[in-house]
């Protein structure tokens, strides 16, 4: 057990405690969680969380009925260009849940399942920033990057082919429908479909 002051002064470098202790345990089940965050501006350090969606995937099934789709109550000033991207106006956001509540719900939802996404590094950084502030730890889960699996698979078949790694390019190449692009839940579903296709078909 490390002293209290150490825990306080090296924030987020330690495993979760208490309510979320189980998150650090190795995962035995057959599910993953696909998630996506929409932020006010595209910046790991300054971007404020506006909405987050997550869905559990078991085999080829996306458990949509139990999906998490949260809009955060925030009055962050958004880049007008970003509004065009995620369509979350200030008015929409005022009806959301509080940030702390959203993070708690999300952590409960994820548990110790592996987390998967498209450019998941960004979502990881955003979420860890908040989780560190609120609960003093970082997500200990295994992370799966969909585009990485894609590159690995493609390279095996065509080592020299130049690859376009945008979300749209992957969806098109994998022939997966793009559903309500730039809504968190829509991107999550498309990403989940990409993952199913890359790992199971």
């Amino acid at each position: 057990m490390l002293p209290h002051w150490l825990r306080k002064h090296i924030p987020g470098q330690l495993p979760p405690e208490g309510r979320w202790r189980h998150m650090a345990e190795p995962y035995e089940g057959d599910e993953i969680v696909v998630l996506d965050c929409e932020t006010s501006i595209f910046d790991k350090k300054k971007g404020e969380l506006l909405s987050v969606a997550a869905v559990r995937v078991r085999g080829n099934e996306i458990l949509l009925a139990d999906a998490l789709d949260l809009t955060i109550r925030s009055d962050a000033v958004t880049d007008p260009n970003a509004v065009r991207v995620h369509y979350l106006r200030r008015e929409d956001r005022l009806n959301g849940v509080s940030l702390a509540e959203a993070i708690e719900k999300l952590l409960d939802f994820i548990g110790n399942r592996p987390i998967c996404g498209f450019y998941i590094e960004y979502d990881r950084a955003i979420l860890n920033r908040y989780i560190r502030q609120l609960h003093n730890f970082q997500l200990p889960n295994q992370f799966i990057e969909v585009s990485e699996i894609y590159v690995r698979k493609k390279r095996r078949l065509y080592p020299d082919l130049p690859l376009k790694l945008t979300f749209e390019a992957l969806a098109t190449d994998l022939n997966v429908p793009i559903i309500e692009r730039h809504t968190a839940i829509g991107d999550v579903i498309s990403t989940a479909l990409m993952h199913i296709k890359l790992t199971r078909f």
């Binding site: 080829n60 099934e61 996306i62 458990l63 949509l64 009925a65 999906a67 789709d69 022939n175 429908p177 559903i179 309500e180 809504t183 839940i185 829509g186 579903i189 989940a192 479909l193 199913i196 296709k197 199971r200 078909f201």
Partner: protein, 599 residues
């Protein structure tokens, strides 16, 4: 999160908004690679699948015998959920995405919604009529029937009652019509009859009512659709009908009582046509006809009733124009025929003018020609586009005397050339609408011949029914061309012409395709099931064509025969597939009946 499928169509449209919202929250999404078996025979299903993307094939357990295929928004396999297990095998033909409604949620919905549970526990026929009924629910009037709410009890008088007493009874009971019972006979006397006979005629207060009562009563049956009553009043130009129940008179149905609940104004249009003083009045009445079609279609009026009403009104329109243009003497010396779909009474949106004229005397030709030009112009003004093939009474080849027409028919039949056969087909659907219908009878008799049975002429006549391929793939699915399908070539024409060919061979008098099918059934040429199937298919084609024509709008929407398959609801797509299969089967029947394989 909105769903990528439309749940506002049967069967889910039977649900309330709350139930739909609940359902939307209960759906999972499942992704199958091409070739994956989704359900095996005997397996119990985790729930019902609703296809979002892809194609699923239902086969027997070996996968060799294909029963059917499912596409976007189709649902499978309800039986596997409701019964012990899956009877067939379901396999994804291509990568397929399905929404999955878990079995327990589906069953909960069935318990919540009576309509949904009836839909899923019944056979296809009941499902179709439920869909039709739901389409109709918009219009209360159309669903209203002749019952105690709308009829007035009848007040009877004896034939000896004098007119003075009749008048005071009408006033007392606030009835505009009384019934006169004379033993077995029942007649009617109205306020208008009283006025006409006394003030305008020579009858007095003491005259017995039997002298002026009318004993040829028009009746409807208790429980009939109000709409049919309206149709009868329009046809007979009367304002009330007697209502009978089990053959007994139970009351009167008054137009005024009915109009107070009726909003489509079809009767008002009929009145305007009848009272038109000029062609200009008629043009404005004809414009209202188009709105009427749209309104009635939205209200879900049954296809047959709609056709009947529009045909009645269209013919009245032409007839009134004819009366305005032709002087009395010439009116009796000619007979104007409408041909093609108008003759069959199957035109709802105006397609084109197909018409011809019979002259009683050749020497009237000079006098009639300019009048025909005027009538033709009037029809153009009413919105009938000219016939591209020139089948119009303004062209020499469609004007002739009785003998001239008989000779023409003989030439057509003898020549056997495709154009001649097509002319015969158009002319065969002729219906006299203005002038003296008796001029037409001897001409019609000239092709209703015993010798046509099993003749080469009949076979040549029937041949064009096969000229277009049925738009079905080898696997039995709808074959579309960039999402479009020509419903006339693919479905309507082969049915209409095939039936016409059989009617031609059998010398059947009727022109309407549905009636011709009934006659063919009576003669034993088709069995009851086939007859019903052909009628269902044809009515269905008409219905979806009309719906899309109205949605598309623009000038002359009636000219478009292209069906946008993507716009069809999945139930309709399913029915379309069944209907096209019936067409295909019917064509095979024609081939063997007319021995067309050697042509």
């Amino acid at each position: 999160m909105t769903l990528q499928i439309n749940l506002h169509q049967p069967p889910f449209s039977f649900l309330s908004e709350d139930q739909l919202a609940w359902l939307t929250q209960r759906l999972d999404l499942v992704f199958f690679p091409a070739g994956a078996v989704i359900l095996r025979k005997g397996q119990s299903a985790p729930g019902v699948y609703i296809i979002y993307k892809g194609v699923v094939e239902e086969t027997d357990e070996t996968g060799e015998h294909v029963f059917t295929q499912y596409g976007k928004e189709d649902i499978f396999d309800v039986r596997a959920v409701l019964e012990s297990g899956c009877k067939h095998q379901y396999r994804a033909l291509e990568e397929t995405l399905c929404y999955l409604l878990k079995a327990k949620d589906f069953i909960e919905l069935l318990n919540e919604s009576r309509d949904l549970s009836i839909f899923f526990n019944t056979d296809l026929g009941t499902q179709q009529s439920m869909v039709e009924q739901q389409d109709q629910s918009v219009s209360e009037f159309i669903l209203s029937r002749v019952d105690d709410d709308v009829i007035r009890p009848a007040v009877y008088v004896s034939p000896q009652t004098n007119l003075s007493r009749v008048a005071s009874l009408m006033f007392e009971k606030k009835h505009d019509a009384l019934l006169v019972r004379d033993g077995e006979r029942v007649g009617i006397v109205t306020g208008t009859d009283l006025l006409k006979s006394t003030l305008l005629g020579d009858k007095t207060k003491q005259t017995r009512v039997e002298d002026i009562a009318q004993f040829n009563l028009i009746h409807v049956n208790y429980g009939d659709f109000l709409f049919n009553a309206l149709l009868k009043m329009t046809q007979h130009k009367i304002e009330r009908v007697v209502v009978k129940r089990d053959g007994e008179i139970v009351g009167l149905l008054e137009l005024m009582d009915m109009l107070s609940t009726f909003s489509t104004h079809s009767h008002i249009i009929a009145m305007r046509i009848e009272q038109a003083k000029s062609l200009k009045d008629l043009v404005s009445a004809s414009r209202r006809l188009e709105n009427l079609v749209a309104t009635m279609n939205n209200q879900g009026v049954k296809m047959i009733a709609l056709q009947e009403l529009i045909t009645t009104l269209n013919r009245r329109l032409i007839h009134r124009a004819f009366e305005l243009i032709f002087p009395e003497r010439l009116r009796r010396a000619v007979c104007i025929l409408v041909l093609g779909s108008e003759g069959r009474g199957e035109q709802i949106l105006k397609t084109d003018q197909d018409n011809a004229i019979i002259l009683e005397n050749e020497h009237d030709r000079e006098a009639v020609l300019p009048l025909l030009q005027q009538l033709h112009q009037a029809l153009l003004d009413f919105g009938y586009p000219p016939c591209p093939g020139g089948v119009m009474f303004i062209n020499d080849s469609w004007i002739d005397t009785i003998d001239g027409w008989k000779a023409r028919v003989r030439r057509w039949l003898d020549s056997g050339k495709p154009e001649a056969m097509m002319n015969m087909a158009i002319f065969m659907d002729a219906e006299p609408v203005c002038g003296s219908p008796h001029l037409f009878h001897p001409i019609k008799a000239s092709w209703q011949l015993e010798s046509l049975r099993a003749s080469i002429v009949s076979a040549r006549f029937a041949k064009p029914a096969l000229q277009f391929e049925t738009p079905l793939t080898i696997l039995g699915n709808i074959r579309e061309d960039h999402g479009k399908l020509d419903i006339k070539k693919g479905g309507i024409f082969p049915l209409v012409h095939g039936v016409r060919a059989l009617a031609f061979e059998q010398a059947i008098d009727d022109c309407n395709t549905l009636e011709r099918i009934d006659r063919l059934q009576e003669k034993g040429l088709v069995d009851a099931e086939t007859a019903q199937g052909l009628k269902d298919a044809l009515i269905f084609f008409w219905r979806i064509r009309l719906r899309q024509q109205l949605e598309r709008g623009g000038d002359n929407p009636g000219l478009s025969q292209q069906l946008d398959v993507k716009l069809l609801r999945s139930v309709d797509r399913n029915m379309l597939r069944h209907a096209l299969h019936r067409v295909k089967k019917f064509k095979q029947t024609l081939v063997s009946h007319f021995r067309l394989e050697n042509f």
